[in-house]
Every structure is written in C-alpha cells, then in structure tokens.
Amino acid sequence: MNQDPQERSDEAGLPAAPSVPGALFRGAKAMDADWVLSRLLMAGLVLAVLILVAGVGLAIAGVGDEVTRGSSLSALPRALAAGEPWGFFILGLLVLVATPVARVLFLLVWFARRGSWWFFGVSAIVLVVISLSVVLGLRA
C-alpha cells in the first residue's frame, strides 16, 4: 500500500533496490494491507463462485423449484434450507457484491489503527453511501 510522506521520510534509509515490489517507501504494516486486501478479494471471489457453481449443480440435478426472479430476499433462508438453486444463486451474488464492502470495512479499521482519521472518515462515508444503496433499493 502507498504511504503518507511522513512515513516515507521515516523509511528513507531503506535499500534502494527492494526485493519486494514497492518496498522502497513501504513498511511492514503497509505490506500487510495490500496482502490482506488481495487475500480478502480472492476469498470473496472464490467463495461466491463456489456457491454459484453449487447452485448450477442443483439446477442441473433438478433439485427444488424452478429458478424464479423477483422473490424477496426474506425468502433466501427458506430457499437455502430447501436446497433450491435460486437460494444459492442469490447468496452467491450477495457474497460477490459484499466483497468490496468487506474491503472498505477493512480499510476503515486499517486507517483507524494507524490513526489516519481523515481517511477513516472518508472510508466511513463510503460505507454510509453503500448502506444508502441498500435502503434506497428496498424502498424503490
């Protein structure tokens, strides 16, 4: 992850030819952020694809009702319990869409732990706006 100027000046004595890409102006904490974020995105993507593929398998096997659209999200637990493909499809898509939200949450905590309150505030605004999309979607 990129760092602020103060941190860069603190680390000005690092080797000029870093063995890790981007290490010249970067510290251990910054490396962790990029590492955790890439793992977080990978986990979300893989989990979503696995759930979607499970749904496809159930649909091909003819388990549950025919896939429908327009059903309320409140029907999701029942659909999952019944092993209906629709439930797996919507859950997989929700996991996928929730992945960027999870990484904003991670950044919120990350900036707070580093005392970067300006960027903590900015991350909080992003979360509020995303939450707004859920509220507006439910009301529309």
Binding site: P18, R26, L45, R69, S71, L93, S133
Partner: protein, 276 residues
C-alpha cells in the same frame, strides 16, 4: 439451456477482452445480451454491474500484490463514485428501454474513441521521492526498473469525474474505467499503471453500490446473471494470462471498431431500426 450457455459465453468473451484492454467488460456484456440474445436492457444492466464486481476483484488481486493500487486516492474518489452509482441505478430503473439504449450507444461511442486514441497520448513524467503530498504514492515499475513516485493533483476534478462515472456505471451497468483512468492519468498526474490499478480497485465499490440497488429490489434475473458472472470470472483469468502475449494496442483498435459498430446498432435499435 442453450441461452444459459450463450450468456456464459458472452461473459467469458467480455472477461477475456475486458481484462486484456483494462475495462470491466460491461461495454461488451450489455449490447451482446440485448442486441443478440434478446435480454431486456434493465436485466442486462443488472447482470453487467455484478459482473463488473467480479472483474474488479480478480484484477485488483494482481494489482494489490504488485503494490500498484493507491488506496488513499481510491477511497477518496469512491465517495463520489458510490454516490453517483446509486443515483444512476435509481434513474436507470425509471428510464424506458429506448432512452436507456440510446444513452448506452452514445457512451459506447465515447469508449470506442477513447480506446482508439488512448495509446497516442504521451505519458506524464513522474517524480521520485519527495513532495508527494497527502495522496501521493510510489511503486516499483518493472519496465522502467526503478521506483516511481507521484503526487496527486486536482482532487476536486477526480471527485467530479467520479460522480459522473459512478452515475454512468449505475445507469448503464458499465464499470466507468474509460472515464476514471484517463482522468487519473491526464488530469491528476497518476502514472498509467497506477491509474489502471487504482481505477480497477475503485470500480468494485462503484458497481457494488449500483448492483445492491438491483439485488435488494429483487430485480436481478439469476438465469442471466449467474452464467454471465461465472463466464466473466473465467474469462478474466484467461485474459490476464493472454495479455502478455497479445499486443494490446492492436487489440484496443480492433475492439474500438467493434464497439463503434455495436454503438451504432444500439442507437438504431433505440429508434426502432434493426440492421441484423
């Protein structure tokens, strides 16, 4: 069943080409679904938005590992992008099919022109080390063989374009990278590699905000969306491995021509003329 397979093929092809030229794939998915497979444009937009989340995630994994993403800049512009995406999603649901198709056609024309011309724009010279400011950053450029530092200029411009790009994304189901990448690069002084990486990272949140509007409203058709998402994810993986073997400037020009043809067809379809 045939259509489900074709939806997956559309996603796969969009994933390959999108990842090879640095786009989310939405500009290919929406016209292919609506013009050739008869999917209603609102369903195509919803499917495309969720597909963009997948391509953003898969692209960002690599960019993060290479240390190219400017997280502070990304999260700053995401405020405007997410806000724009929600407005776009709500407005898009209210527009009729013809108007939405016509707007999409016009935006596709802009994308095709951007893709055709972008390689001719000279890259900005970056600075090393000091004076990078609050949003500035650095990364190791393997091609140049040294660390590149850059300061970020004109944040208000980035926020304004972010709002517009978010709006276009929510409205049309595209990522909006064709607006954010040139703005970061030419307007804000971010080097190309960092601009593409940061843009790809940001678009996940943009598309997520727009997609949530559709998802919680129950306006997502899984029969269309699931094969597209699975296809685009597989395509993005293949495309990223092919990118190094194909000359991207040639590919960009070819795709620009294809997009222009699709744009014309989309606009003609919007006014009730079919040339198929």
């Amino acid at each position: 069943m045939t259509y489900v397979f074709l939806f997956a093929v559309v996603g796969f092809v969009a994933g390959i080409f999108g990842s090879m030229v640095g786009l989310g794939g939405g500009v290919f998915i929406v016209p292919a679904l609506t013009l050739f497979l008869g999917v209603p444009i609102h369903d195509a937009v919803a499917a495309s938005l969720i597909a963009v989340v997948a391509t953003s995630a898969s692209g960002s994994i690599t960019y993060l590992r290479e240390g190219l993403v400017n997280l502070r800049l990304a999260v700053s512009i995401e405020t405007a992008l997410a806000l724009g995406a929600i407005t776009g999603g709500l407005v898009g649901a209210l527009l009729d099919k013809g108007t939405l198709s016509a707007i999409f056609g016009a935006v596709m024309m802009a994308v095709s022109i951007y893709m055709g011309l972008r390689r001719k724009v000279s890259p900005r010279v970056s600075v090393d080390g000091a004076g990078l400011g609050r949003l500035g950053a650095s990364y190791v450029d393997r091609e140049l063989g040294h660390t590149v530092g850059y300061a970020v200029r004109r944040l208000p411009l980035g926020l304004f374009v972010g709002l517009v790009a978010g709006n276009v994304s929510g409205l049309l189901g595209v990522g909006g990278g064709f607006l954010t990448v040139p703005t970061l690069r030419l307007g804000m002084g971010v080097p190309m590699r960092a601009a593409a990486a940061t843009s790809s990272f940001m678009l996940g949140v943009t598309a997520c905000a727009g997609a949530l509007v559709y998802l919680v409203r129950g306006a997502v058709d899984p029969v269309v969306t699931v094969p597209v998402v699975l296809g685009v994810t597989a395509g993005a993986l293949v495309g990223s491995s092919l990118a190094a073997r194909v000359k991207s400037s040639v590919l960009a020009v070819v795709l620009a021509v294809v997009l222009l043809a699709l744009a014309v067809q989309m606009i003609l379809a919007a006014v009730g003329v079919s040339i198929r």
